[in-house]
Subunit: 369 residues, 2 copies
């Protein structure tokens, strides 16, 4: 995945200086390159410049003049037009973007730009970021270690891809090559479909609640987990889902097929099939871990703690003092106050240590997985 | 919901002495009543007795002799037959159960018991419990403050309902009356459907993973939230879902309808409708809280912390020392190590305090909701 470093990028222009653009600018400065920046809002350009991330430009043309690489970080609805504009205004530079959807950007750029400009466009997506917004919250750490997808097409110049790959490595991220459609399919499954599943579940329960006022009183940990994403920004998600329309429609269809199959197993009282469906999902979930370095396995403990200020501080202090890193922590409240249950996830090799440390701290951990 | 205390239950028999049965026995002892216990496994009866919770009996008949109240806490597949047996063996006592599904138990008992015994059966469900198992892990705290549903039918004797209600209050739980079908409908939406939705999503992603090995590498917080439940016990869930078959089939059908409607909004590029669907779900999610006392509203903060032992201890200590109770905490790791993001939920009235305390501790909280 990592190739010998290509000729380094020395001069970078960032178009769109919100949180992600300014964060990339900061990481680029840290890597030793010069950065110019422009935003359609001169006020935003000024706020980005005041962070020290970049030299402000008064126009797109002014920003990209002389740049080796242009990084387009605008809102998704103007990414393609900005890329096309940048390719024209910077005839010897490479242009990349940071949009979270790739196929539609690629198609729009191909429809709008001269064919001779297309080899210099390398579609990209730094797969991380932050839920904050605005250049004030920018930080080079936003791109530290994140997976940064490069999604070249058949017409993309391999030298341009290598230039962007070198840039991505220089700013501290991890380049991965994926075709645009495959990228969009992956993001549909691991990001967009969970959002849709959560929103639909919350919407359904809220409707049922109309004549069942107790439904939310009784909603405990599992329901809360499943509906947490439903509190996300509606305008942003509407834009994202429509931009990845074909892949998300396909993902929902496949999800509905799964649900219908499980429903039929239940309706026909097919206990062995229901159990197999649950067993397969359980095995897959246990292989999953948030961080690749703990993919080898995790251990999950259930621990009861008092539901009061300081209770969480105490258990996390006990683990911290015992040098046990918490990979995940979930608070499972009972519907009423008075006590709480915590699910702690640690890397599998740390399981014995975690158990000893917890017992030493007076807790009674139950290993769930 | 709370009525004047009826004549207190003085002698209780628990049939099935696993975790829930033994926990109820401990809470009953605490309330000052005597408890006898029996399990189909004499070895389990002995382990329960060794906790001091109950006087062991060698037979069901021996356990229920002279009892005012019999509580059936067996696995769900033998609840009805055990209830019927207890009604016959204890002709002057009231019998209740602790199964998480009510309509099927009611129907099975009605089919098996003499009609003259039915008024003395009060279907029940202590809606809480623990993910542990075995009498060794029993604790009176398992029933402390939990919602305990009583689901009488038209033939149930109101005096029997009052007796069980008094018992439930005496052991420290909160009785709520719900018809059996309504109970099962509620549990289908807030407990069983989230389990099905999570399992189907994990199963689908695991299948897609077969030719997309990067899918799990890229799976971040949202996907992990949605699939955490998929690691639950397959045999247990198969039994539960089949026992609540009609309600869960209906809930899945309604969920599939919701998903299909959202899919159609996306497919037809209907941005206003997609945004409205997400907005409605967001509003409902923000009304939801784990604990009734914070139903008035919660505040959610995003805070960045280092991904290292002790980091969580420090932030929770800062909040504990500031006397801010954490209602929920979610760790949102980036796909790579090095830094982490935490989502902290506090009751809305504590939001300003939480923000001040976090800033005072050197954190930079962003309020999300």
């Amino acid at each position: 995945m990592i190739s010998p470093a290509p000729e380094p990028v020395r001069s970078v222009a960032v178009l769109g200086t919100g949180l992600i653009g300014t964060s990339i600018a900061l990481a680029t400065r840290r890597a030793g390159s010069t950065v110019t920046g422009w935003d359609i809002s001169a006020e935003v350009t000024g706020r980005a410049a005041s962070t020290g991330a970049l030299i402000p430009a008064l126009s797109l043309e002014g920003a990209v003049e002389g740049a080796d690489l242009v990084v387009v970080c605008t809102p998704i609805d103007v990414v393609a037009s900005t890329v096309v504009h940048a390719l024209a205004a910077c005839p010897h530079g490479v242009v990349t973007d940071a949009a979270s959807i790739k196929a539609r950007v690629v198609a729009d750029v191909a429809a709008l730009a001269p064919a001779s400009d297309l080899p210099r466009f390398v579609p990209g997506h730094p797969w991380g970021g932050s839920e904050r917004s605005g250049p004030e919250h920018a930080s080079a750490s936003v791109v530290d270690g994140v997976v940064w997808v490069l999604a070249p097409t058949e017409v993309t110049d391999p030298a341009a891809v290598e230039a962007v790959r070198g840039f991505v490595e220089a700013v501290g991220a991890r380049p991965i090559l994926l075709p645009p459609e495959r990228h969009d399919r992956l993001v549909a499954f691991v990001s967009h479909l969970p959002q849709v599943a959560s929103t639909a579940l919350m919407g359904l329960a809220a409707t049922e609640e109309a004549d069942e006022p107790d439904i939310l009183l009784l909603a405990a940990g599992g329901f809360r987990d499943l509906t947490r994403l439903a509190a996300s920004n509606p305008a942003l998600w509407s834009e994202i889902l429509l931009a990845n329309r074909d892949q998300i429609v396909r993902a929902i269809d496949l999800y509905v097929e799964r649900l219908a199959a499980l429903r039929d197993q239940i309706r026909t009282d097919d206990a062995p099939d229901v159990e197999r469906t649950f067993g397969d999902a359980k095995a897959a979930r246990l292989r999953l871990s948030a961080k690749p370095q703990v993919r080898a396995g995790v251990a999950v403990f259930q621990v009861e703690i008092p539901d009061e200020p300081g209770a969480l501080a105490r258990i996390t202090a006990v683990l911290g003092e015992g040098d046990v890193n918490i990979e995940d922590l979930q608070i499972v409240h009972s519907p009423e106050g008075g006590r709480g249950t915590v699910h702690l996830t640690v890397a599998a090799p740390a399981a014995a240590d975690a158990s000893d440390v917890l017992r030493g701290g007076g807790y009674d951990p139950i290993r769930l997985a």
